[in-house]
Subunit: 393 residues, 2 copies
Amino acid sequence: MAVWDVIRQWKLQEKDYRVIDHQAIREITLGASILATGGGGDPEIGLLWTYKVLDEGKPIVMVDPMKVPDDVLVASMACLGAALVLTEKPPSEGVLNRAIVKLETYLGAKLQATIPIECGGVNSPVAYAAAGELGVPVIDVDGMNRAFPELQMTSWVTHGIHASPTVSADDRGNVTVIDTGSDDLLAETICRRVAMAYGGISWIATYPMYGKAVKETSILYSQSIAWAVGKAVWEAREKHLNPVDQVIKSLRNERSVEGFKAFKGKIVDIHREFGSEMTKGFTLGRITMEGFDSDKGRTAMLDFQNEWLNLVVDGRVRCMPPDLIAILDSETGEPIRTDIVKYGYRGTILLIPAHERMRTAKGIQIFGPRHFGYDLDYQPVEKLNKDIERRDA
Amino acid sequence: MAVWDVIRQWKLQEKDYRVIDHQAIREITLGASILATGGGGDPEIGLLWTYKVLDEGKPIVMVDPMKVPDDVLVASMACLGAALVLTEKPPSEGVLNRAIVKLETYLGAKLQATIPIECGGVNSPVAYAAAGELGVPVIDVDGMNRAFPELQMTSWVTHGIHASPTVSADDRGNVTVIDTGSDDLLAETICRRVAMAYGGISWIATYPMYGKAVKETSILYSQSIAWAVGKAVWEAREKHLNPVDQVIKSLRNERSVEGFKAFKGKIVDIHREFGSEMTKGFTLGRITMEGFDSDKGRTAMLDFQNEWLNLVVDGRVRCMPPDLIAILDSETGEPIRTDIVKYGYRGTILLIPAHERMRTAKGIQIFGPRHFGYDLDYQPVEKLNKDIERRDA
């Protein structure tokens, strides 16, 4: 099947889809990487994969979610594991294709589109590459509008759609089909253990669902949001504007939310849980930053589990999951990720309110502060940073 | 399909099969439980299941392996996990059926017989119960002629047949399909982790293979051996004979091998690795026995990983895997298992040479002493106990 056949079948008009070229996927991936909250892995891995697909002449087309027919089957493709391992072990060709074929066989039906699982340097472009390979569109949604470490941490689960069946493959031909019905936490547990058994990284085809569910349970226009953020940083670099301010402006335009510049400083300490990639399947640890400029004399601490989890400045909590934390290089706007963060890196911490579909009561239960072991009730980032708003005003 | 249709299709004569009734399965399970080397779990669980099938009027027929057509597809059904958990969490109806159906769907073909994976109190009768449910025969073979803790520890693997795909199910409807090609150790690792994620116990359909492979790679007539051992103990109980001597005699008749009465004593110390069922997926530990009668003043030590692994008497190694260790109640011949062994139990340690198909170089590599962490070259039990032979003579 070619993607244009699908576009015709779905009776889409030109305004209903966007053709994705090299520059588009670069911008989307940059934006996704910023929204990835310190996780999501090395964008180069996913980008190279997508470039290859484009260079082979396979078109990649992104479709407006509200134009997707109710009855078409779609699924997510993603890398699940510790990003640090991925950097040392980039994917081999065919691994995702194998997962997709096994998922289709298990379901007895063909996929007609891909949906990115999250905003992340790897998993965003991977959904585009897979769509190009399959000859189907990628839908302008995802399950988080950020990155999160665990499989069940999606708006899909909080709105009643499940991760089962998930097919997990590795680059040596191993395949595991995980079918846990409505027990998404068990699906995560098994997927994680399988990824560790594979050597730290797995490639999954997951969250099979119909078009109707995509519309009702996804973060809609998540790709457009990432794209706008990426474009803003790209423009800031070209015009020598402040990239953090440009990101804030783009989020205001695209999502009508306000980001917070919560801290400016440099990383003075990193504690990594040794071997956590292999024993727990995550990159785990904590960083400490010392402030400079207007934050001189202040100290920031961030825990991470693949993604930054929380921000505490001078003992006061400034951000809790599921709200987003990005540490951006003040010059380039490039995000500082948990898998590559090093002593001496300098950056601005930007806090972004989570998407409203991530802030439901069920969402707070599944991926709020208590799930990650904090004895705290969730408070929105807007409330925790009222004083910053005042200070900026 | 009814089993008699299969018998007709395979053109079997009366001498090629045995109809299994309540007494037959009791005897086979008792013998299997003795050959299970301290593992294999509580026979009552598998027996009750088989009785139920028989009581529903479903015939169970055991077939001579050499009469099985080359091109029929068969598979094993088994419980994988820590036997101790099984005792607390007996299986619910349908769990194995679900695994079988998923295996057939994944393979795109129907199973035409079952093959027991091992000699064990649970997994022997389970293969009979599953055969009765499916309306197919059970073949007079297994993959060990003993019990072993790990999935890859079979004559099938050492002769080039693989455990993939394996379907693992639990009693809440969860299913995982594990397909690791020729990497049987990875299949074991994933199956074990899945079993732990399920809560300690899983039910698997595994080792799909054709009739030709059954003949070339199984332990042939393994069920008949277990049956002979079980019958011998049954007879000993009825005629007030020494059950251990009767077991030795039955093995001499059926397998032309000599067992060794290596130690008579009582259990004076048990060290269990706390929580190993949930952290490692096995029942792990060590027992110490103090001798009496002719063994007075001597001390025996046995490690266990679901099964007894080795026997050391007064610091001298008397048995290494894959040779068999049974601790039998001197009165009843009932085996003392690792999951129920208690302080004060009295028994005779019987050592039995492993089947020749388990003693190949590849077998010693996969389930010999070094695999279990002993810095020892494998030596056959006959060699390690020459002096006992002399003492008995």
